[in-house]
């Protein structure tokens, strides 16, 4: 290694340069830089792939994390995937999604009929923990839907989660310490719930509830 040694990023960029090219002269003569280049080449084309079962699980988990963290939420999820998340990944298989939606909706309909209490106590894809948040929906003078809730003691943040008709998650909105949220009348969401958090830790959640507006329950997946 000398003072002229390029950074690892610069060395890695030389991987696509042909051997013998003057730009590689230093790397080919410097053990340190050569080692980094070999390491990068292994990064691009691993010769020691992990066992297939591990690789498949890891690939699915990483994809799920990326979708959740990059595409979806405004809050961070530090925990690793649990059984619930694995099931969600499973149901993301395109062929199974419509079937999953039909089964989910059928269970909801049964719950509604059995309890005779409309959509007020529908349970979503995840079981609610003890001491659920009491949440209600109303409308304001303009017809916008107003979601309100009462967080349990100790919670300092709330996140409103909106779901489509097939119960897939549409969005999460971190509303900080607010206790209500207005939704435009034409919002595509069909169900909602609120998560109450202490810092990043979920403390409690409301039951999944249907958003009004006359749409009713539909089994059509998005």
């Amino acid at each position: 290694m000398t003072d002229r040694c390029p950074s690892p990023e610069e060395i890695a960029s030389l991987a696509s340069v042909a051997r013998g090219d003057p730009r590689r002269a230093h790397v080919e003569s410097c053990p340190r830089c050569q080692a980094i280049l070999l390491s990068y080449e292994e990064f691009m084309a691993p010769d020691e792939p992990p066992p297939e079962a591990h690789a498949a699980d890891a690939s699915a988990e990483l994809e799920s994390v990326l979708r959740r963290e990059v595409l979806g939420p405004t809050i961070r999820h530090e925990r690793k995937m649990g059984t619930r998340d694995r099931l969600r990944c499973f149901f993301r298989v395109p062929v199974l999604a419509p079937a999953a939606a039909v089964v989910a909706i059928a269970l909801i309909v049964i719950a509604v009929v059995e309890n005779g209490r409309g959509g007020a106590d529908l349970r979503g894809p995840a079981p609610a923990p003890a001491a659920p948040v009491v949440a209600e929906m109303g409308t304001d003078g303009d017809g916008a839907r107003v979601l309100t809730w009462q967080p349990p003691a100790g919670c300092n943040r709330s996140v409103v989660v909106l779901y489509a008709a097939d119960l897939s998650e549409i969005s999460r909105q971190d509303v900080a310490t607010a206790r209500s949220l207005s939704l435009p009348r034409a919002h595509e969401a069909r169900y909602w719930r609120v998560l109450c958090l202490r810092g990043n830790e979920e403390v409690s959640r409301s039951m999944l509830q249907e958003l009004g507006g006359g749409a009713g329950i539909s089994a059509s997946p998005r």
């Binding site: 950074s7 610069e10 340190r32 990068y40 292994e42 010769d47 690789a55 990483l62 990326l66 990059v70």
Partner: protein, 200 residues
């Protein structure tokens, strides 16, 4: 470029451009997700090769990908995205692993007792700055020994992999070269009277 323009074959550079165009927009997040998703398996495989533990490799790979996402706006595109991502993975993996000691490596020296007291040479090496150690390596080891030491101690590559990538044909592979390099390092330290031990 809009979200609907993103095809599976869209080059990294185009995805990157879309991801950096309007940070936080839906199109940018979709592009970033596709870009990172494309590299997720190689990040995991590389971390696994370094760490040897599937759960730990998954944790580190997740941190690498999310760290890359958070720092995406700082990437200046002076190199390829994969080079940049590799450096993040390398730094993260290296900080996760204890560096194999230059003079004693439990994996290559089976007779070495785990947790045994350090010898004077090891203590001396550990008290030196990285620059001093590198100078010692450069002046007292032959090129093959330097490469093996570097790959093992700084790039955390496995012995089997080092043997393979350096095409070492001697029977003991990289293990033998590594042991020889360590003997040479100890001898160099003694020659310079940097340590007082009489045997290694």
């Amino acid at each position: 470029m809009t979200a609907t323009d993103l095809q599976p074959e869209t080059p990294d550079a185009d995805l990157l451009e879309a991801a950096q165009a309007e940070p936080g927009s839906e199109a940018a997040r979709r592009a970033a997700c596709q870009l990172l998703s494309r590299h997720r398996d190689r990040v995991y495989a590389w971390c696994y090769a370094r760490l040897g533990d599937p759960e730990k490799a998954l944790d580190v790979a997740q941190e690498v990908l999310l760290s890359a996402y958070r720092r995406l706006s700082t990437f200046e595109r002076r190199s390829q995205f994969s080079s940049w991502l590799y450096v993040i993975a390398r730094n993260r993996c290296c900080s996760e692993m204890r560096r194999p000691q230059l003079l004693v490596d439990e994996e290559t020296d089976p007779e070495h007792l785990k947790g045994a007291a350090k010898d004077p040479a090891s203590i001396y090496i550990e008290s030196r700055s990285e620059e001093e150690v590198l100078a010692l390596i450069r002046t007292d080891l032959d090129p093959l020994e330097q490469k093996v030491i570097w790959l093992r101690c700084f790039e955390r590559m496995s012995i089997a992999r080092i043997t393979e990538v350096l095409e070492i044909t001697e029977a003991s592979g990289a293990r033998g070269v590594l042991q020889r390099a360590r003997r040479h390092l100890r001898a160099a330290l003694r020659r310079r009277e940097l340590i007082t031990e009489t045997s290694s």
